[in-house]
C-alpha cells in the first residue's frame, strides 16, 4: 500500500504556493483573549485538581516509612453515617479546631464553629435548594494576580462567567463571559503604577519567565479596560453534558445516577476516583490518597454538578468525615459576603503549599468562594504570595433565561 518516497524534496512536502492557497482559503483565525483565558483556566483547574494526586508522588517517596499521615482515613461507611447523625468528634489528625464537641453532647453555643459543624449545617441547608429547573446555572467571578512586566507592582485581573446548561432540547445552552479589567491591587501597587506613568495596558515579552500560577497573559498583552460581554452557544462536547467531575465530563443521565445517600455516594465516588486515577504506571497509591481525591470530587460536586440537593448534601457530609479540613472562622469573600471558611492545603511541590479557603454560607449551604493563596518564588528568590479566587454568584437550578448579549459566538 505504501509507496516508497519518490524523489520529491522531503523538506518541502507541498508546493509553497499551494500551502498559501490553502491558508488563504481556510484563514488564520486567532483565538479571542476570552478563549485563551478560558482554555487556560480549564487546564489550570484540572492541574489544581490533579495536584492533589500527583504532587504527592515525590513527597510520598521521601516520607515512606514514616507513620501514616492519614491515620484516620479508613473511615468506614458506618463511621461516615455516624458522622451524619451526630457531631462526632473523630479526633482526626488535621481536624485542628479549638472546639471539639464530645460524643452525644450538643455542640457548645459558640461562634467558633468547627469545620465539621459548618459542613453539616451546610448539608442540612442545601437540601432545601430547588431540585429542578429549566437551566442549571453557575455564575462566577474569577480573580487572579500577576506582576507587571517590570515586576514592580502587582496587578489583579477579573473575569465574570455564566454557564447555562440545559437538558431540554428546545432550549439553548450558553456560556457568557466578560473580562472585567485589570488594576493594581494595593494602594502601594497603585503608587508604583502611577510612578510608572499609569499604563492602561501591559506588554509582556515572550521570554519573561512564567511564575507558578502567575504566568504572563497568553498573547502577551494585558488590558486595563474591561471588555464586552460575549456569549457562546454550547455545542459539541459541551452540549448535552451536565458539567464535569474533574477528570471526565458527566452526562445528564450520569448526573441523575449519582446516588443521594451518603454511604452509596461515597462508594460511587471512590469507584469513580479509582477508575479515573488508578492506572498501573501512575505511581499513585489511590487508596492512600483517597481522602484528598474524595475532597476534590466532593467540592467539585458541590460547586458545579447538577445533582439533586440530597446528593450535594451527602457530598458535604462526606467532606465532614474527611481529615485535613479545618475551620477558618467567619471571613469576607472577594465579593464582600460573609461566610464560614473551611481551610485545607495542597502541596504544590515539596515544601510549597497552596492554601485554599472554601467559603460556604451555612445558612443556605451554598459555596460562596474558593480563595487560593499560592506561594511562588519571586525573581529575587523571595517567596511571593499570589492570591487567586473564584467567587460563586449563583449555583443551582433556575427557570430564568440567559440574556446573551447581541455579540455572540
Amino acid at each position: 500500500m505504501d509507496e516508497p518516497h519518490d524523489d520529491q524534496d522531503v523538506r518541502q512536502p507541498v508546493d509553497p504556493h499551494h500551502v498559501t492557497a490553502v491558508r488563504h482559503l481556510l484563514g488564520s483565525h486567532e483565538p479571542s483573549p476570552g478563549t485563551v483565558a478560558e482554555g487556560r483556566a480549564r487546564l489550570l483547574a484540572e492541574a489544581a485538581a490533579t495536584a492533589t494526586v500527583s504532587s504527592l508522588e515525590p513527597v510520598r517517596r521521601r516520607r515512606r516509612g514514616r507513620r501514616g499521615r492519614w491515620a484516620g482515613v479508613g473511615l468506614s461507611l458506618a463511621a461516615a453515617a455516624a458522622a451524619v447523625a451526630v457531631l462526632v468528634p473523630m479526633g482526626l489528625s488535621g481536624g485542628g479546631t479549638s472546639v471539639v464537641p464530645r460524643t452525644g453532647v450538643p455542640a457548645p453555643a459558640t461562634t467558633e464553629l468547627t469545620a465539621r459543624q459548618v459542613l453539616l449545617a451546610a448539608a442540612v441547608a442545601v437540601e432545601k435548594a430547588p431540585a429542578s429547573g429549566d437551566y442549571w446555572r453557575i455564575a462566577t467571578v474569577d480573580r487572579s494576580t500577576l506582576t507587571d512586566p517590570t515586576r514592580s507592582y502587582v496587578i489583579e485581573t477579573r473575569w465574570s462567567g455564566e454557564q447555562w446548561l440545559t437538558e431540554r432540547p428546545d432550549l439553548q445552552g450558553w456560556r457568557i463571559r466578560r473580562y472585567l479589567g485589570a488594576k493594581p491591587v494595593t494602594p502601594r501597587d497603585e503608587e508604583a503604577w502611577r510612578a510608572a506613568g499609569a499604563p492602561t495596558s501591559w506588554r509582556y515579552s515572550e521570554d519573561m519567565k512564567s511564575e507558578q500560577f502567575a504566568a504572563p497573559p497568553p498573547g502577551g498583552t494585558l488590558e486595563a479596560a474591561a471588555g464586552e460581554r460575549t456569549a457562546e452557544r454550547l455545542r459539541g462536547r459541551w452540549k448535552g453534558t451536565a458539567g464535569d467531575l474533574i477528570w471526565d465530563s458527566i452526562t445528564w443521565q450520569e448526573a441523575r445516577a449519582i446516588p443521594d445517600d451518603p454511604g452509596k455516594l461515597r462508594t460511587y465516588l471512590e469507584k469513580y476516583v479509582r477508575r479515573q486515577v488508578a492506572h498501573p504506571d501512575s505511581g499513585i497509591d489511590v487508596e492512600k490518597e483517597m481522602p484528598r481525591l474524595l475532597r476534590a470530587v466532593c467540592i467539585r460536586m458541590i460547586t458545579g454538578l447538577p445533582v439533586s440537593p440530597e446528593a450535594r448534601a451527602s457530598a458535604y457530609r462526606i467532606l465532614a468525615s474527611l481529615p485535613g479540613i479545618r475551620a477558618g472562622g467567619e471571613i469576607t469573600d472577594p465579593l464582600g459576603r460573609r461566610g464560614q471558611a473551611l481551610v485545607y492545603r495542597e502541596e504544590a511541590e515539596p515544601g510549597l503549599f497552596t492554601e485554599i479557603r472554601f467559603v460556604v454560607d451555612p445558612g443556605t449551604g451554598l459555596p460562596l468562594a474558593e480563595m487560593r493563596m499560592n506561594v511562588a518564588k519571586g525573581a529575587d528568590g523571595r517567596t511571593v504570595e499570589i492570591p487567586s479566587s473564584t467567587s460563586y454568584q449563583a449555583i443551582g437550578w433556575t427557570d430564568e433565561r440567559p440574556e446573551p448579549p447581541a455579540h455572540r459566538d
Partner: protein, 200 residues
C-alpha cells in the same frame, strides 16, 4: 533527582522538561499551553471553524495534560505530539469539517464594494472561482490525506514529524502527500501564485 533524565537534545529539553516537571507540579503544563495554544487553535480553526475550535483547542490541552505520563521525548517534540492529539480529536468532527469545506465551495462571488475598479473585480472573481475549486477538492480528499496536508500547511511539520504525530509510517506520509500534491496541482491549475489575496 527523582529519576535519571532521558538523553535529549537541548532544543527539546525545555518542553520535555516541562512535561516531566508537570508530573509532580501539574500547573507547569500551563506554560506549554501558553507556548502552543495559538498554533493548535489556528490549525483546528482552519479545519472546523473558529467557534468549534474554542472548545476543541482547549480540549486538546486537557487531553494532552491527562496523557502527559505517556509522552515519550524519544519519539519527537511536544509540539508535534500536540498536533497529533488535535488531529485525533478532529477525527470526531469530520462531518463539520466537510460541511465547512462544502460551504466554502459554494460561497458566492462576493459582491464588490461600490468604489471597486472593474479590473480589480475581475481579479476577485477569478480568485473566488479558484478558491471554490480548492475548497471542493479539499472536501473530497480522504481524511488521511487532508490530515497530512493541513499539518503541513498549519503545523509546518516535516514528513518525519507528521509520521510521529499521527503514528504512521514515513512511507505512508510520503505517498499521501504525493497524492495530495497531484490533486492540488490539478485543482488549482497552478495559477494560485497570482490569486493569493492579502486579507484573511
Amino acid at each position: 533527582m527523582r529519576m535519571t533524565a532521558p538523553p535529549d537534545s537541548p532544543g527539546r529539553l525545555d518542553d520535555a522538561a516541562l512535561i516531566e516537571q508537570s508530573r509532580h507540579r501539574p500547573e507547569s503544563f500551563a506554560t506549554l499551553y501558553d507556548r502552543y495554544f495559538g498554533d493548535i487553535y489556528r490549525y483546528i480553526a482552519a479545519r472546523i471553524g473558529p467557534q468549534a475550535a474554542d472548545d476543541l483547542a482547549s480540549e486538546t490541552f486537557l487531553v494532552a495534560f491527562r496523557k502527559r505520563d505517556g509522552f515519550d521525548p524519544e519519539r519527537g517534540a511536544v509540539r508535534r505530539w500536540l498536533y497529533g492529539i488535535a488531529t485525533n480529536l478532529l477525527a470526531g468532527h469530520r462531518r463539520s469539517e466537510t460541511r465547512r469545506l462544502e460551504a466554502l465551495a459554494r460561497v458566492p462571488v462576493a459582491s464588490p464594494a461600490e468604489s471597486e475598479h472593474a479590473d480589480r473585480v475581475a481579479a476577485q472573481v477569478t480568485a473566488a472561482a479558484t478558491q471554490r475549486r480548492l475548497a471542493a477538492e479539499l472536501s473530497r480528499l480522504p481524511d488521511g490525506e487532508r490530515d497530512v496536508l493541513l499539518l503541513v500547511a498549519y503545523g509546518d511539520l516535516s514528513y518525519e514529524e507528521i509520521a510521529q504525530a499521527l503514528d504512521i509510517p514515513l512511507g505512508t506520509v510520503a505517498s499521501r502527500l504525493n497524492r495530495v500534491r497531484r490533486k492540488l496541482r490539478a485543482a488549482l491549475n497552478d495559477i494560485t501564485a497570482e490569486s493569493g489575496g492579502s486579507d484573511g
